[in-house]
Amino acid sequence: MSSLAPRSDFPILLAHPGLRYLDSAATSQKPRAVLDAISAYYSEDNANPHRGAYELSVRATERYHAARERVARFCGVADADCLIFTRGTTEAINLVASAWGRANIRSGDEVIVTGMEHHANFVPWQQIAFEQDARFRICELTPDGRIDLDELRAMLGRHTRVVAFNHVSNALGTINPVREIAAIVRERSDALIVCDGAQGAPHIPVAFDSLDVDFYAFSGHKMCGPMGIGALIGRRGTLETMPPYQTGGDMIEFVLDYRTTWNVLPHKFEAGTPNVGDAVGLAAAADYLDGLGMDAVRAHELALVKLATTALGDVDGIHIYGPPPEDRSGVISFTLSDIHPHDLATILDGDGVCIRAGHHCAQPLMRRLGVAATARASFYIYNDEADIEALLGALHRARGLFGYAGV
């Protein structure tokens, strides 16, 4: 099985021929097209958008506007004004928890997250619940690492103000049934539904308008785009009625001495000089991924993760977490005998195999799994069968180094 995207599209893979990059769930590598788009923007069209009365500034404004439309199209948002550019998923969720949460969460309300959340979709809710004197509740998981929908049903009620969960778990790879969860929530409560799509948008076709969630957040750097850009998608009605998050230039209408009124969407939520360069880069990433086809991306990752799960499953002493590969994104989270994941990562690195070891910013999940850390290999469009073979070979070497037989 070869890679889906030509490996030669990725300068870093050319620069390091022996690199087996299996940490795309942390951040993806960037195709040349994305880097060129950023450079070209700064080399031809750069100006502060919205503000100038000269052609260059109009061009910058248009580039920024077009980037928004492009990214909105990528994730199935018809009304592009409802796509707010943020620094990434973390900022997007903080925006909702802070701006919507402070205005809407009251004492006695309940805020529900799940036991598999990334800290970015856990801590902001924990903190705002504490601040607003609301009850913070954690929906537990099934033994195979899915959200326990029965428990969720039982938790929901008229006190439920927010339900926040990830589309795909970064630590387990679990793909959550977003529409089903949304239906369960809508049936039993008026809660705001917030979906952390950091591991969704890069790996699975996403059509926000048909997901029936209130907010969806993702990061550009995990989907071939640059760092420093991401998006929050919301519904017009919600976005228009909630207060702004950060205040300053561009997001205002009138600044009176003792009162300020806000600009229209999307500007209301984008205070300060926008990050046009990285937005243009993210739009180029959307072009690149749509060029491959998001269905093909998903199929490629599924094939790799199945292959890897079968191959790794035969290694003595391995334990793989989460549901079967069909229900996982291109993530395989595991431990191997008594070899600490950090040691594993170091040994694998010796063979050029880059995996992540640790709590994956999901300490609550690690506690539930009963481990301090796992090793995680994650696949993307530039990975191929050779990467899996290298991973497997390196795991055997690790076993040998730790004195296990059969190498």
Partner: protein
């Protein structure tokens, strides 16, 4: 990254038997009911956690025990460290800590220093920048534990 020369040999040095032995049969991993001080250190980015308890007797570290969870490097480092400092003066413990630190920054002389004893088994860590933090975690706890302690033979 693939290593330039013989990753196998280098990794075999990193994970030599002595290290694995301390990892699998940690020494001084026990409670210390009469501890003078207990210090916790963690590496928030990887989740490693060390709890070091010290019992002092005048200017001497009478006992040093630890608990926690971590990789083979931080565990072996904690295990060997407690062995190396128990029964020693503050001054001596500090000297060992300094030599150990030097060894991890690549100081060849330190890596040969008999003073370090078994700890020299960790010298290969110097070639793995991402693991130096692991090896230093228990020492950082020790440093805080001895803060303000003046040892015999301390210059100042």
């Amino acid at each position: 990254m693939p290593e330039s020369d013989s990753p196998g040999t280098s990794l075999a040095t990193l994970y030599q038997e002595m290290i694995l032995d301390h990892y699998r049969r940690p020494r001084n991993r026990a409670p210390l009911p009469d501890a003078s001080i207990t210090v916790e250190r963690n590496n928030p980015l990887c989740g490693d956690l060390i709890q070091l308890s010290l019992a002092f007797d005048g200017e001497i570290v009478r006992a040093a025990v630890w608990r926690g969870q971590g990789c083979s490097i931080s565990s072996a480092s904690a295990s060997m460290m407690t062995q190396a400092i128990a029964g020693r003066t503050f001054g001596h413990a500090r000297t060992i800590a300094a030599r150990f630190g030097a060894m991890l920054s690549g100081d060849r002389a330190a890596a040969d220093d008999e003073l370090l004893g078994d700890l020299r088994a960790l010298s290969a860590v110097a070639r793995y920048p991402m693991r130096i933090k692991c090896a230093l975690l228990p020492w950082s706890a020790l440093e805080e534990g001895m803060l303000g302690k003046r040892g015999v033979g301390d210059g100042g």
